[in-house]
Symmetry: C2
Subunit: 241 residues, 2 copies
DNA sequence: CGAGGGTTTGAAGTGCATCAAATAGTGTGG
DNA sequence: CCACACTATTTGATGCACTTCAAACCCTCG
């Protein structure tokens, strides 16, 4: 019962479901469950038969692809509020990548079948789904561009900018939301490279690094340094948030 | 009139429109036009107001992003039959990248407004659109993985495999569909790197390179070499075709 | 034939990866 | 509250992959 309230609340707040009618949402919530995750717990593996999708309540979730020899390519790291696993309905009901909880947290597990039929029965919702896919597509395009054009330090700068509260003025404090090692993998680089690239960024833009906290005195300098190698308007919105 | 037939034919063959009813298709065709393109001709530029989308009749089209300083990141290179520019309806009716004809060819220019309203009025078509976006999303995920995990030679090998006619057995002949320089940019590498990486691939897998023609004697060897660094099943389908 | 673009080759530099080891930071049990 | 264990992070040394700049070569087409 309490769970159902939590689930209903989470659905109401999600971009995808916020405009759905209450009847559907409570039906969906009734067929869903809150699941507690531990650090490193696998939620599904690429190739698995897909019958559930997820919304993150708490903690971060890493999506990744893995080759035979164990090499990982991190596709994305998603914050609370995000949905994942939902695109498998377009992929023969198989998961196309693997998902792992980065840390202890909570996710809601929801039935894919209901999502599928709701898309089929409800054109307005289908359009929401389209919008959500379009948003993702744009992010991926941007990501690919960044990997092609930006160097390690610039990519880190870009992350910092997207983590920075745009409303703030003057001295800005940024908290890295998770391990530096994980940020590194999200950016497609090694931890050692991240460390060195961050200190290069420090020299170039006079940011102050104190562990996981980073203070930016002159935001424009950081923008100049990072965004000069990016075709998008500053800031590269929506990628990290 | 002849143009209308050509357009109707192209629509009927496209994955996205093939199941649409004839009334809509002829209406759409009536508001469309065949456009002849010259080598290097820009079809639209990132940020432009979007009111048309395109289907390629003949020739190749390059989608790319460009920074202030002119550095290009090639997003994709599309063959005849492909649709592009259509996702701008989800992006404030702005093009999010730029499109350029690689060579002399023909494209159909179609009105975005009609696509938009057809999606809104026709749930079945909306689902087709969803499927098409899902396909693209998968490709992009794969692309990002390749860039992260595969080296230059392996990425070239992957391209060759996708260009190879899977039906063929024994000695396989592959024709590069466009300039090596362009293939290189599509793979995010320099022409010089492409040249050297191809000759490395030649040494590793005993393929025979004669200009733009490549003969593969032992396909499995090429698969071993390239696909060992890829999480997808061989072959990485649909990316080039 | 000659001009011009595409392609290859050479030499040198840069950036990132890798391996190894030191250091900092965190949580645990005593 | 401290010491230990363990993990995250940094630093150093070295190697490899790709880029860059320069020049030669090759191919095509007017």
């Amino acid at each position: 019962m309490a769970d159902n309230d939590i689930i209903a609340g989470a659905l109401k707040q999600s971009v995808l479901f916020r405009n759905c009618d209450d009847a559907f949402l409570s039906d969906l919530a009734g067929n869903s469950a809150v699941k507690t995750t531990e650090k490193g717990q696998l939620l599904y593996v690429s190739g698995d038969d897909a019958d559930r999708f997820y919304i993150i309540l708490d903690g971060w979730v890493k999506l990744f692809r893995e080759t035979y020899d164990g090499t990982q390519a991190v596709v994305d790291i998603l914050p609370a509020g995000h949905i994942f696993g939902e695109t498998s309905i377009f992929e023969d009901d198989c998961y196309v990548n693997s998902a792992e909880a980065v840390e202890a947290g909570k996710v809601i597990s929801l039935p894919l079948a209901m999502l599928k039929s709701h898309i089929n029965d409800n054109p307005v919702f289908a359009r929401e789904m389209l919008k959500s896919m379009a948003r993702y597509r744009k992010q991926q395009d941007q990501e690919l561009e960044h990997r092609t054009i930006q160097n390690a330090s610039q990519r880190i700068g870009c992350v910092l900018l997207r983590l920075a509260d745009q409303a703030e003025t003057g001295e800005i404090k940024i908290q890295l939301p998770y391990d530096k090692t994980l940020v590194a993998s999200r950016l497609g680089m090694q931890p050692e490279t991240f460390s060195r690239a961050l200190s290069r960024l420090k020299n170039e833009t006079d940011i102050v690094v104190k562990g996981a906290t980073i203070e930016v005195d002159d935001l424009d300098r950081l923008v100049d340094y990072s965004c000069s190698a990016c075709s998008s308007e500053f800031p590269c919105k929506d990628i990290f948030k």
